[in-house]
Symmetry: C2
Subunit: 588 residues, 2 copies
Amino acid sequence: MKRLSSLFPILGWAPAYTKADAQSDLVAAVIVTIMLVPQSLAYAMLAGLPPQVGLYASILPLIAYAIFGTSRALAVGPVAVVSLMTAAAVGQVAAPGSAEYLTAAITLAFLSGIVLVAMSVLRLGFLANFLSHPVISGFITASGLLIAISQLQHILGIRVEGDSLLRILGGIYAKLDGLNPFTLAIGMTATAFLFWTRKQLKPLLLARGLPARAADLIAKSGPVAAIVLSILAVVGFGLVDKGVRIVGDIPGHLPPFAVPSFDLGLWQELLLPAVLISLVGFVESVSVAQTLAAKRRQRIVPNQELTALGASNIASALSGGYPVTGGFARSVVNFDAGAETPLAGAFTAAGILAATVFLTPLFQFLPQAVLAATIIVAVLSLVDIAAIRRTWAYSKADFAAMAVTILTVLLVGVEAGITAGVSLSLALFLWRTSRPHIAIVGQVPGTEHFRNIDRHDVITDPRILSIRVDESLYFANARALEDAIYDHIADQPLLRNVVLMCPAVNAIDASALESLEAIAHRLGSAGIGFHLSEVKGPVTDALMRSDFMDHFKGRIFLSQYEAFTTLTAAAPNGTMTPTGSGMRVETA
Amino acid sequence: MKRLSSLFPILGWAPAYTKADAQSDLVAAVIVTIMLVPQSLAYAMLAGLPPQVGLYASILPLIAYAIFGTSRALAVGPVAVVSLMTAAAVGQVAAPGSAEYLTAAITLAFLSGIVLVAMSVLRLGFLANFLSHPVISGFITASGLLIAISQLQHILGIRVEGDSLLRILGGIYAKLDGLNPFTLAIGMTATAFLFWTRKQLKPLLLARGLPARAADLIAKSGPVAAIVLSILAVVGFGLVDKGVRIVGDIPGHLPPFAVPSFDLGLWQELLLPAVLISLVGFVESVSVAQTLAAKRRQRIVPNQELTALGASNIASALSGGYPVTGGFARSVVNFDAGAETPLAGAFTAAGILAATVFLTPLFQFLPQAVLAATIIVAVLSLVDIAAIRRTWAYSKADFAAMAVTILTVLLVGVEAGITAGVSLSLALFLWRTSRPHIAIVGQVPGTEHFRNIDRHDVITDPRILSIRVDESLYFANARALEDAIYDHIADQPLLRNVVLMCPAVNAIDASALESLEAIAHRLGSAGIGFHLSEVKGPVTDALMRSDFMDHFKGRIFLSQYEAFTTLTAAAPNGTMTPTGSGMRVETA
């Protein structure tokens, strides 16, 4: 039973479901439905798909998440970044608007579902940890910019091809004389109106004395108002004849039962995009879910979230939808509107189903420019310039990974961008660990502590070299340690013992072990003892298992203090001098 | 002048060259020449090239190394592993025996030379550090086995295609009925004779009272004896008519001036093999050079070695040769024979040039089976089974990288093998650092030291959680730290302060910084203080640069002891209990 309810979290909360829960969930569902319908149409357009596909992707996936998900407030469905990634991936295997394009999008959702479930079964969720914050943040910022710019064409009433910044801008520039002034007027007005409702309407309403909740709801219904007004304008002024592009006829029926393609060649082409979409979707979804769960002191189970997102994507594919994930905006609305359980998602699904069947004729005259405005206003909030500045100030390596991600997304594409960012951040980590910080240390007077002689006033002894390496020893840095020790023992005629202080050495691999043997051998032939100190438990255990100890003639001291006092006492003709009056006290 | 002599090390030693040096160098050159001539023919056969190509690769490259190299004893030329890699790379773009095959081999040498020089200019020699010992050791062992097995066909007198273990063995099995008994007899006899001279002749001669040096020289001339005797047998018994394959006519002239192909498509196909050959050749060459330099307390300059090996390969390409590197066997012979300067290499080049022009007619009747026997006996000494056992005992991760390298080399190929080994060793390193060792620590009674409560009898306090993370904090392990801290603070009603002890934290990247902020925020909202201790200098500097300190309400203690005593003194209603009588003293 416990295992069953960990696979089906619904079994955990459904038996305790109350009438009050139902009331909260229903209210939340109505609000989210109103918000989701135009958003679903818009994101489908962004993905290059017919508008109804966005609606299909907002029905069954929500039911699947309600059954398998561990977050009480997460709302899954089409989101901006994943829609952009879908357009990029599918655009490489089929022409936009073709039947193959739709099939490829459905197949991508299916594959992405399989990848997510496989990651759950194989416990590969940790792979998402390799997407660093700067890479994710840069990726989302750049995607937001790219999406906003790609929507400009709909505001201008022209149509361009391409999925990189330069191509889109070049295409727009080349076709600028085909600009439709009516479309432009509608698009600019809608964009300005949406920005205004988003940023200034709520404070205004609050200032007029409206209750906070009502002000919030009115402000959030901005997109609905824009849609209604623009439809009225199109119909009233006969703008279709003036060249304003509209959404057009949307088939008003239940989501179809769809079958993904099982063409292995197509699977091969879509596998990498599916993996990237899965990882990005998982990271976005889990971070939203965790933020919301923490607010109510609930917990989510990341591994189960993989299963839930996988099931949602498979459900999306089987009902004619495209890849989905937990969205930030909709989840926050769901949470704020008071959703208590995942059943709110199921109610939302019912709402969108009803809208799909009964309301789609109303959207026929909706101008594409208004959908584009909705997208632009939504995605520009993803652009986080402050994060770029903060990262630059803190770490140039992190900034480099972020900058490469942003530039590659904008200039090459989304998949190349995330791949380049992850590769560079891993390479920079390896590069850093391959050049460890190595310090000569001395005793802080009056304590048992040893610190860098370049940073502190410390006691040293010319007969003893205390050297601390601040990194695990492994193949990439083993030579650097050898070189550093050989450099430091040169021109030290009084030197009798070298102590390698290892408090920061968390592991020693086979390559580094050979280097330690080489160092011990070389120092030994020069008449210098080689010892270790402050070796961690697991590292000592490993050394004991090897044949290193058979040849090792030095000692392993529990502390550097013990090493220093023992070796000072044992060595002949040397003196130890305190700070300030000393033979070899160095201060930075 | 100093910069000039660092680019041309020859300027460092040539002015001080003495008559005694010349004598030593000449003697060494004669010995190495005798050894190199059959070896060059054999390795050319291994690379699938005409025998004279091996000789060409042993002339100009030695001159180039004498000018640019920093090792006094390194002997460059064709070596077994690089010959195998050449065969694998070139075999993918041209048919063995064709003119394109030879051009591709020459182009590979040229490309490899350019890669090495570029690595030198860009100071990329550190890339070789990413080839771990277990991967190199596994690669050489597997290559040795693969080479030995690939030579079986020549011993049996049949011819098979393929460059993986199963294909070669399958090919031999399929053609076993075409076995030539005369070839087999010659091959088996030669192999047995060579093993005997290598292993048992020297002790025997020493026991008979010969001086050590003479015994060594006689034992090392085994291959020459085998060659002379087998040529006599072939000619005397008319074995060519019986189907024994011979080396055949070798054109006896100066090395030609050759021009590599500048076909960009070919360059693209050969680039990855050229990079791998360069890295493997560099690692082998530098490790041989360093071993020999240490024996005479000389130093080599790894970055200059890249230039020297690059120049050698370009010289090889321009004189009709194929990729070369510093060989272990020939360098040791050169060193033992008393070579004092790289001029020994130039003398050797002159010797091989003379052999190429005047002696090649003698080799016409040399049976290929004897060359194969020379190769088999040479490469089986590369197979190091003890290293496999040692690595297994020390570290399962290192063993996994080694095993994957060996199996992939044998079953797929040399390039795939080294790529798989390097990838796996990097992945395992990342995997390990992404799951850091995290310990709860307490005070070792009577000292200022804090150790793992699971390993030592230590003093703790229920109001203070001292937690030590044994890894740098970066994107891949930031979540693991968060999870560990949240897990440890659960069910600790008395807890007032958490101290994160950071002696092993060598860096904190932007992702981990966000995690620390999240931890501080979450603990703060639960009324628990969050502090750091023993933060390294560079890490503190980085924290100070960020806006972390603006929000951070905790303290950064110099030592865990200071943190523990300060927080114990400050906190109300708590007691501190020594080992054995305590409230929360845990012992493993």
